[in-house]
Symmetry: C2
Subunit: 274 residues, 2 copies
DNA sequence: CGTTTGATTGACACGAGTCAACACCAGTGG
DNA sequence: CCACTGGTGTTGACTCGTGTCAATCAAACG
């Protein structure tokens, strides 16, 4: 089940390549990393595999022996309910990993992880992670920040599902994914890849696929988004954010985004660190 | 605003007292702790304050300079929306702390924390936390596990709010709080303290206070719970868990609960660790 | 080319929100 | 002692957002 695709060591050796590596880009945005740190991160994700869509990477209940880093494509953490419905609790975009804390601490998975689109993922063995964490304090620090970020994203999605209407909920997700992809350099000026089906989008947002369809049409009719050919286009990010009630501060993005200039954090004044 | 109640150093010195300390009880359930670790934890929560109900401990957007440990009473993490509605993302019961990762890493609060009932809380200064984490690997390990647990609880609540009907959602929360209180020795044989108003319960479950009231009556009529005088009584925990679809595995409780004997994990076969 | 998967549309049902009114209780102050 | 108050719980009538069911259509696919 875990053996689709060829295992191929793909190691980027130049500084140039390391900087373009999704994991390096993400973690460098969380905490300062030395060149040695970055090299270690690239080495950590040496064993890359192509995985078809809709394949489980990790199952709920199993012991955490391996983590996965998503390099290309979208994956998702999910839980199944007795009645067969699925709740996707978080999307994994390039640069994101499955629960590294569980891997480090030797816990058991309390959720499953599956690819949504076709993905390129890197398998991270437990020993390799522990070795890197022991020898690279900067990486350990960045990963702690990632764990904090993950909880933050979960809280915000809880707010979305609990308190926002379907249209805003969906817009909010679009804004979030756009921002997260932008942070790893995978968002264009006005949009990004969007491989999810409407059914999968419903599993993220807790909406039926029928209702997802209707809401999408509302958003399209309002000119807020264009969604076709597995691609999301946002003509006016500011307008979509305003409609969704999206403020990116919960994403704790330290690096400046290319897509957004001066409308971030308008509600909350910036405060110096330390 | 932070000056209600007297700041009083309350240090338990005997092993007996340390074992009864909520934080020690909780962390000892997450990872093995030495006596020295436990003493350090008790010292960490030396500065205890009484806080009236409905007081903010931390505000959204402020820098994390101090964390709080709840010793008595219930508190909650929440976010406010532009329309004034509130979503409580997590309850803090005795033994729980506000986000220690944010404190350690010097981040900013992406959510607020407020007392719900009257509370006794211990303020944890940043330097004290860093000192303990540096010198007590066991504590650091236990706190990492707590962070993992917190994310796990958030995921499960996401599933609850997204996919469970109001009756099951509420029952599930009752089961969870009962289990969490049991883990720190604060649940009786058949129930626990329940200081939340119906409105606050609605803010946790994303239900209107009117609907909370109706759902409560259904659960009462079904004989699943008794809720009166700020106290929750569960005549038959097994029945409530079955009704709610509650399985405690996501709480990663290593210590055996007193309340539950042999009916845990009936849906999912147990899997040996390591 | 049949099959399948995903998108779309309409009719209808139902869970939960909203609004409004009232009961109950604990303070609180005259 | 009692009127007044505000917070909480309770109830009913009505509205509305979403789910469910079912049918159709388009595109991908073996």
């Amino acid at each position: 089940m875990l053996n689709e695709g060829a295992t191929a060591p793909v190691v980027a050796r130049t500084h140039e390549a390391a900087t373009r590596h999704p994991l390096v880009r993400k973690l460098a945005g969380m905490a300062p990393l030395s060149e040695v740190d970055k090299t270690a991160l690239v080495a950590l994700s040496a064993f890359v595999r192509a995985v078809p869509p809709r394949q489980d990477l990790l199952q709920e209940g199993e012991a955490a022996e391996t983590a996965y880093l998503v390099l290309q494509g979208f994956a998702g953490c999910y839980k199944l309910l007795p009645d067969g419905t699925r709740q996707i609790t978080d999307l994994l975009v390039p640069g994101d990993t499955t629960d590294l804390n569980a891997l480090r601490l030797g816990g058991t998975m309390d959720h499953a992880v599956a690819t949504l689109s076709a993905c390129a993922v890197a398998a991270i063995p437990r020993v390799a992670l522990l070795e890197v964490l022991d020898n690279h304090a900067g990486v350990a620090r960045a990963l702690s920040r990632c764990a904090m970020l993950e909880a933050s994203v979960l809280r915000e999605r809880l707010v979305s599902i609990g308190r926002r209407r379907a249209e805003q909920r969906m817009s909010h997700l679009f804004c979030e994914v756009l921002a997260r992809l932008g942070a790893v350099g995978l968002a264009d000026e006005d949009g990004c890849e969007w491989p999810l089906t409407q059914g999968e989008l419903g599993d993220v947002l807790s909406l039926s696929n029928v209702h997802v369809n209707r809401v999408l049409q509302h958003l399209r009719a309002a000119g807020l988004i264009v969604l076709q050919d597995k691609r999301l286009t946002v003509p006016d990010v500011v307008r979509l954010r305003a409609f969704a009630g999206f403020t990116p501060n919960y994403l704790h993005l330290c690096v400046p985004e290319r897509n957004t200039q001066d409308h971030d954090g308008a509600n909350i004044p910036p405060h110096p660190r330390g």
